[in-house]
């Protein structure tokens, strides 16, 4: 019957599971992993901190000359994200006009200090 045939077929074929620490599962390109900010593009508009559902993005002062739509403007603030409280929903990436804040294809990672921040 079907269960028996399936069993014997599995017995002879390679197992599907992998030994995790040695072999890794490929991460797709669109994976929403750890949050990262490229400082050159950020114009300090603080849209991301307004939109963040978990309110973990705070604006700290970071003056810098920035190029935006061929105009150069002086930025006063830049975002700082509490890494271990970020829920990786990708809404900040969606609403950021310049694509400064984005989610990398890397797992969020672990740590003991709750206050680790990404700037």
């Amino acid at each position: 019957m079907s269960v028996l045939s399936e069993m014997i077929k599995n017995l002879l074929s390679r197992p599907v599971t992998i030994l995790y620490p040695r072999e890794k599962v490929p991460i797709p390109v669109t994976f929403r992993g750890r949050v990262a900010i490229t400082d050159e593009k950020c114009i300090g508009c603080s849209k991301c901190s307004l939109v963040c559902p978990a309110q973990v993005i705070t604006m700290i002062d970071g003056p810098r000359e920035v190029e935006f739509k061929e105009k150069s403007l002086k930025r006063k603030k830049r975002p700082q994200v509490k890494l271990y409280q970020c829920i990786r929903c990708g809404i900040c990436e969606r609403h950021c006009p310049t694509g400064a804040i984005h989610l990398e294809q890397v797992h969020g990672g672990t740590g003991t200090d709750r206050e680790v921040v990404v700037t």
């Binding site: 028996l4 069993m7 599995n10 197992p15 030994l19």
Partner: protein, 324 residues
Amino acid sequence: MTDPVFILLYIVLFPGFIFLFVYALFLSFLDRKIVARMQNRVGPPFYQPFADLVKMLAKEVIDPDGVDRGLFDAIPLVALAAVMTAFLYVPVTGYSPLAFPGDLVVVLYLMIIPTFALFLLGWLSRNIFSAIGGIRAATQMFIYEVPFFLALLAPAIMAGTWSISGIVVWQQHNTWLVFFQPIGFVVALICLQAKLERTPFDIPEAETEIVAGPLTELTGRRLAIIHLTTEISLVVGSALIAALFLGGPMIPWTLSPSWLNEVVGFCVFLVKTLAVLLVLSSIKVATGRIRIDQLNDIGWKYIASAALVQVGMVLVINYLWVTL
């Protein structure tokens, strides 16, 4: 053959406790590996059962309050001792030197003690889940013991002797008993699966219904010993069926140097027990757990009547055999 040093060595070292201990762990690993590979998983490394055993032995022993500590420690040990002594009478290389004309009955009796241990543990540990588990263990024992005895006594009747080694010697002259008693072989396999409480019949410790049944309150070394008992009774059971139905560790022609006989016999024993284990594992993979009342119907309607039919056939064949 009877000088004490050899007997001592026989009991302690080779086919005795050390070998049994190692072979039980190996068979348990093989069982888990086969089940895993059939379920498309990688399965545990070869030292996993040993690692589990050592870890559990090191764990803290928690006594639920109001439980008789002494008895709670003693019962697993009694079960382990019973099953280990049962293995001494099962022939591993050629025939066992300790054989005596009634050792089949002794082995069968010693194999029931673990089920009693489970029932007592369930009753002792004052926990609703283990009480129900204990009652289920007892009910299940009544259902499969009768057919198991009938199925294993049929070869004794045919071979005319009650000693397992005797039956093995008889099979060496005639063909394997499985050709005479196919139904008995199937019934014995099913009842062994029930005795070892493996999946279709693991009703006493059904982990999704009554936590772990009688084993709920066992921790630390007690749990380790009970698991070891189950693994060893797996070895003893499959060795018993290999001996009684598949001709045991004997080979038809005798080789020139006498010790070579023993070695080849031992390899044949290994191959046959692995074959029995493969059958048991595939039963475990292919089925889900049935309820205790369903087991009751199936047990008495089909398995018991099949065993009776088998014994009837054996008596008829014996009668014809004698008259011819």
